[in-house]
């Protein structure tokens, strides 16, 4: 994706004669469809597992509709040109996650689904706040270094003695009063903003200065500094907090964003080499990582383990699934969090799991689409970074669940149980909505043409 060249294509032909399509009606229809699917899933879980319609089905429908309606109305007021398919996809994913958490509640005798619905309401509240207070995404680019520092500090928070909190060996939680929160989820978004703002300033130096070696453009050492710094920070977090997922994710997002900013494939090669080197080093030094890789190579050395149970579940589900409420997804330890993908794959089958992955792919493609249409380089990079990070996260966690790559602990966006992940993903979607609104909003007609008239013609130099 070229940052400058795309500008030309987006110039609207004649803004005063074209009534731009806002797509809010489309969004409303799709939202009603999405809420219908969510309720259908919720009811059929109870029908499958208990053989009755859940008594609180109407309350569930009401809660979901209310949260969705608020988000839709705020989009109508504050981002009228936003992409109409983003919100319906998110609501569908949330609904599927809620239904599956409710299904695991039935099996385990807990009430986590209502907690999750509450968190979704908190997420929608933050979504509304972002749309209300971030009127123009460019304000986010003002303080790249401060944002970067804030992101790293948030990542470090769980290491502090009093508020830091460790669950299942990973020290990534902090205690806020009676609740726990994963600051890493917020750090991810802040770091993407910081990366985008930083790369807008330095992309020319990264792309153009440096030597060619074996057909690959190598950047200069001083431009390489930040990527090495992030690589070291990511590895540091991994070693100290014992958490593989976020560090791989952060590093991957950074490499992809550099690639988008500079259009040099050499960064991808460099990033893959660094991640391989980091993986080998971690395998040798950190026992936690070596164990994960061992389970990846042969999950059945522990038949009761997560990966083995997940594979059994997926095989039991087969092509069409067991039907909602009729499988045994609760056999997988902690199925409601990292392994919700395999729980859904068991009960909806390959057909359903592919549908879910497609929903994620459509969402990421809408983000990239907004990036292509946007006229400012910061917005382009931010949209590409958010979309890439989002899809990378889905790939890392679903790849781990299905044993494509070694398992790393990450949440499945919108599906997994967990307040911090859900809330922060709603913030991420709010930023995407804001960006797509800016991308699809027709440009003021006067400025572009007057610019073209006064701009200096570039001279072709012949030798």
């Amino acid at each position: 994706m070229s940052l400058d060249r795309a500008r030309a294509r987006t110039e609207p032909p004649a803004p005063e004669t074209v009534a731009p399509r806002r797509g809010r009606g489309t969004e409303l229809v799709l939202l009603i469809f999405a809420i219908g699917i969510a309720t259908f899933a919720y009811v059929s879980v109870d029908l499958g597992a208990l053989g009755r319609v859940p008594p609180n089905a109407l309350a569930y429908l009401g809660g979901l509709s209310a949260a969705t309606a608020v988000a839709h109305i705020v989009i109508r007021i504050r981002a009228p040109y936003a992409d109409p398919v983003i919100l319906p996809i998110v609501v569908t994913l949330c609904g599927l996650g809620l239904a599956m958490i409710h299904r695991l509640d039935i099996a385990d005798g807990t009430t986590r689904a209502s907690t999750q619905l509450t968190w979704m309401a908190v997420g929608v509240a933050l979504f509304v706040c972002v749309l209300l207070f971030v009127r123009d995404h460019r304000v986010l680019s003002r303080l790249p270094y401060l944002a970067g520092l804030a992101g790293l500090l948030l990542l470090m928070l769980p290491l502090l003695p009093v508020i830091g909190h460790s669950i299942r060996g990973a020290r990534i939680w902090i205690n806020v009063g009676p609740m726990t929160f994963q600051p890493g989820e917020a750090a991810k978004i802040i770091l993407i903003i910081a990366f985008a703002a930083y790369l807008v300033q330095t992309r020319d130096a990264l792309a153009l200065a440096g030597r060619r070696f074996l057909g690959v453009d190598l950047p200069r050492a001083r431009d390489l500094g930040p990527i090495l710094l992030v690589w070291l920070a990511a590895l540091g977090i991994l070693v100290v907090q014992n958490d593989l997922g976020p560090s791989v994710l952060l590093f991957g997002i950074f490499v992809l964003m550099i690639y988008v900013a500079t259009e040099r494939i050499s960064w991808i090669i460099l990033g893959l080499l660094l991640i391989l080197a980091g993986g080998f080093a971690a395998n040798a030094v950190v026992s936690h990582v070596a164990e994960r890789i061992e389970f990846w190579r042969d999950p059945f050395i522990d038949p009761q383990g997560q990966v083995a149970q997940s594979l059994y579940g997926l095989a039991y589900g087969g092509l069409l699934g067991t039907g909602l409420g009729q499988g045994r997804p609760d056999l997988t330890p902690i199925a409601e969090s990292d392994f919700i993908g395999s729980a859904l794959g068991e009960e909806l089958g390959l057909t359903g799991l592919i549908a879910i992955i497609l929903l994620y792919a459509l969402l990421a493609s809408r983000g990239l689409r907004a990036g292509l249409l946007l006229r400012d380089p910061f917005g382009k990079l931010l949209a590409a970074g958010l979309a890439a990070g989002f899809f990378l996260q889905v790939f890392i966690v679903l790849g781990g669940v299905t044993r494509l790559i070694p398992l790393t602990g990450l949440t499945t966006p919108f599906l997994s149980l967990g307040g911090s992940s859900l809330v922060m993903n709603w913030v991420l979607v709010a930023l995407l909505i804001r960006l797509s609104d800016a991308a699809r909003r027709p440009a003021p007609p006067s400025s572009s043409s007057s610019l073209a008239d006064t701009a200096v013609t570039q001279v072709v130099r012949i030798r």
């Binding site: 004669t17 699917i37 259908f40 499958g48 398919v85 497609l358 073209a452």
Partner: protein
């Protein structure tokens, strides 16, 4: 709950899920295949009358009826050739405004005269080329002719 009902519910749910994906993709259809171009505003009366006076019997051999931009940042744009002069350039008042940075504000003009289209350079910075020849005066062009301004290549077609 009978086994059959549950199976129907299961398959129904999968069908509805895929139906949602289909509706989402059809909502995005405009991005994939492009939106229908908005109706052009009716041309001014005098322009239309001038066009009518200049219009020649169609179908004369080699007379192009449309100019397409086939290379450069505005690839895909086209303009009908109905007898009125067509100007190319970066300025907003050109018939075909281009966003190529190597094109001058007023770069080149297509002109119809004596049943023949001519291309002429309007004193541009980087010149207008037919083949390797930089234009110094009006040059006749026919269907399939190409000329280049900046990084943009225009082709005339019937």
């Amino acid at each position: 709950m009978s086994e059959l009902t549950l199976t129907v519910i299961k398959l129904g749910f999968l069908a509805v899920l895929w139906l949602l994906i289909l509706s989402v993709t059809s909502a995005m259809r405009a991005d994939l295949f492009g939106v229908r171009p908005p109706k052009q505003p009716k041309p001014q009366r005098e322009a239309r009358e001038a066009a009518r006076q200049n219009r020649q019997p169609r179908g004369a051999k080699g007379t192009p009826t449309r100019a397409f931009i086939v290379e450069g940042p505005d690839t895909g744009k086209s303009v009908p050739l109905d007898g009125t002069p067509v100007t190319f350039g970066r300025g907003a008042d050109c018939t075909v405004p281009l966003s190529d940075e190597y094109v001058s504000t007023q770069h080149a003009r297509l002109r119809f005269h004596d049943n023949q289209w001519y291309v002429e350079d309007l004193g541009s910075t980087n010149g207008t080329y037919v083949g390797n020849q930089r234009l110094t005066r009006s040059t006749p062009v026919t269907a399939r002719s190409r000329f280049r301004l900046g990084k943009t290549v225009v082709e005339l077609r019937k």
